[in-house]
Symmetry: C2
Subunit: 99 residues, 2 copies
């Protein structure tokens, strides 16, 4: 899996406070391949974004400022990138973690 290298290669801001933070990075790529099938397919990446954030909030207490959202579309491919910085105090295991 080349993913570890991909995440390691991502330039991180070098100040120690930034590095020390617990982080969650979620990337969603939706490749619709409409050219081949000739069928226009629904792009539901925005809906996935809202639902995935709700899922994350089940496990850690995060606020609006802890979340960075990037969406990019090229042709029939959309890519969503969610970068979540998890505040220190939100680490006590939430009830859901032990369910």
């Amino acid at each position: 899996m080349g993913l570890f290298n991909f995440f390691k290669s991502k330039p991180e801001v070098k100040n120690s406070a930034h590095i020390a933070k617990e982080r969650l990075q979620i990337i969603v790529s939706h490749q619709r391949n409409e050219a081949h099938s000739g069928i226009k397919k629904p792009d539901f990446i925005n809906k996935l974004q809202d639902d995935i954030l709700e899922v994350v909030k089940k496990y850690v207490n995060i606020g609006h400022n802890d979340i960075k959202i990037d969406i990019d579309s090229q042709g029939d491919r959309s890519v969503l990138e969610l970068n979540v910085t998890i505040p220190e105090e939100s680490n006590q295991p939430k009830q859901a973690l032990n369910a």
Copy 2:
């Protein structure tokens, strides 16, 4: 965003049937940075996996065979990769899409 290049660089099986399929790829990286804080933090990537798959199933009809799951852990970083092949017939917009 280097993500497009990352997804384009992923070697795909070259037969046309494979290329034509609609695909959803979800990657989750959880960097816990325990070394710095000295606090052991819960790894909830397995729980995220189940919940995220439930979210995807709200939008497309997929079966067990349409989903490939990879989880890898190194030190205090875990990476989950979900590869979902979306069957042709499951593309008619599900009720959730129009909600």
